[in-house]
């Protein structure tokens, strides 16, 4: 192989030994995705070969030398039908197969562990339920379903883990979710794949998959002392949410215990599933999500809580399984000066007092 440039040869060998066509399969969905990909590559190769062979053989057989006079052929309905139906059938198979995978990637199982990810120019911030924060990195345990709840603070970003074959846009103003279950410990690429401005190509990081023991160790090492729900609780108190959401008989707001995951009847009619997105929306645009039997008196917190703050609140509300906790909070807020009459109807005032910028 002396005639091949040694540099090129080195490169080739390096590439072939490294990773040939696909990144490692490190999640449960990856082999399924790859199976479909291989099927599609196979179909494409066959299709391409058929076309190439036909062109090549016709070119040889019917070149002017061999075949000086062309025979005029109008067409053939049978052939037209063949190459309409066969590709259509194959494409439909791909459609159904692909839709099944799409369905799996974006339908998290009920017991998934939820990690929040906030994208901003140009970093990823991950928030674990235990209160661990990470930037441009995500530590996750192997063999456990992880759901990511994504949001962006500014522009569109996209959270991509090629080794897991998953990707989801983080969009401003709305939660999106994706889930995966890592199968192999190791460190994998995290990319932002949606163009997001100057340092788009530096919005990268590491996904670190740990064995369950290592993960526990990591959790213990990187704890910030307060869980996310505890952070939320503090915020809940300082924003005086318990002034209304206190589960007393005369409460102006609905009780929030066990509200997560339930079907709520709205005063505008209709019911809604109280998920993360709903909780977030009803903090920011409360008048559109008034629970039946209550007045639309809650002020909006748009522009007053950071996305991380909202996440903490959402996480707190999610974990509320009794009114006892709220009433505890209430007792503490009662001690705060000027906490009475915060949510006076129609007055935008309370926001000023309860403002917490994280």
């Amino acid at each position: 192989m002396s005639h091949i440039s040694p540099v090129l040869w080195q490169f080739l060998v390096k590439w072939l030994t490294n990773s040939a066509l696909l990144p490692p399969e490190a999640s449960k969905i990856a082999p399924q995705m790859d199976a479909l990909l291989f099927f599609m590559v196979l179909v494409s190769l066959i299709g391409l070969t058929v076309v190439a062979l036909l062109i090549a053989s016709f070119s040889i057989l019917y070149s002017k030398k061999r075949h000086p006079v062309a025979e005029q052929i109008e067409g053939s309905t049978l052939l037209e039908a063949t190459w309409t139906i066969i590709p259509l059938g194959l494409f439909l198979v791909m459609f159904v197969w692909g839709a099944l995978i799409y369905f799996r990637v974006f339908t998290p199982p009920a017991n998934a562990m939820n990690i929040y990810v906030v994208g901003k120019q140009w970093m990823w911030k991950a928030e674990h339920p235990g209160g661990q924060h990470e930037i441009n990195a995500l530590h996750i345990p192997m063999g456990r379903a992880i759901q990511l709840t994504l949001i962006s603070q500014d522009v569109f970003h996209s959270f991509s883990i090629p080794a897991f074959r998953v990707k989801r846009e983080a969009i401003p103003g709305r939660y999106t979710t994706v889930w995966f279950e890592a199968t192999t410990p190791g460190t994998y690429h995290l990319f932002c794949t949606q163009y997001c401005g100057t340092n788009h190509s530096q919005m990268i990081g590491d996904i670190v998959v740990l064995s369950p023991e290592d993960y526990r160790k990591w959790l213990a090492e990187s704890t910030s002392g307060m869980s996310m729900a505890q952070n939320g609780e503090r915020l809940f108190a300082s924003l005086s949410c318990a002034a209304c959401h206190n589960a007393r008989p005369d409460a102006r707001g609905p009780s929030l215990a066990n509200v997560y995951g339930s079907k709520l009847a709205l005063s505008s009619g209709g019911t809604v599933l109280a998920d993360e997105a709903y909780l977030r929306e009803s903090i920011l645009n409360p008048s559109q999500h008034v629970t039946q039997g209550y007045q639309p008196i809650m002020p909006t917190y748009q522009g007053q809580i950071s996305e991380e703050g909202i996440i903490a609140l959402v996480e707190y509300i999610k974990n509320l399984d009794s009114d006892y906790r709220v009433q505890q909070t209430l007792n503490t807020t009662d001690l705060l000066p000027g906490s009475e009459g915060k949510a006076a109807p129609g007055a935008p005032g309370p926001a000023k007092q309860g403002m917490v910028k994280q």
Partner: protein
């Protein structure tokens, strides 16, 4: 439409225009009147229905589509169709987002 031929240029008589004018004015009065009555869900439906019939009158008579070639009719139709496709398919996304995950 027997009077529609490829080349005969149909001249609509002023009488027709006057009739249409009064129909349009009447339609406007009706729709304004209807808007002050609370009909719930029917308010937008009625308003849009009257607007559409007014628009249809304008297209058919003022714009001579009634007397035009098939090609013109097809053009108008394809415009409406694609307009509805743009609005409809985009709205379909927004409406079905509220249905939740699956």
């Amino acid at each position: 439409m027997s009077e529609t031929s490829e080349h005969a240029h149909h001249i609509v008589s002023p009488k027709v225009y006057v009739v249409i004018l009064f129909a349009l004015l009447l339609g406007t009065a009706l729709t304004v009147g209807a808007s002050f009555v609370d009909l719930g869900l029917w308010n937008p439906v009625i308003a849009l229905a009257i607007a559409t019939s007014k628009a249809t009158l304008v297209v058919l008579y003022f714009m001579h589509v009634k007397y035009s070639t098939k090609l013109t009719k097809l053009t108008v139709f394809s415009g409406i169709f694609l307009f509805l496709a743009l609005v409809g398919m985009t709205l379909a996304d927004y409406v079905s987002r509220a249905w939740g995950q699956w």
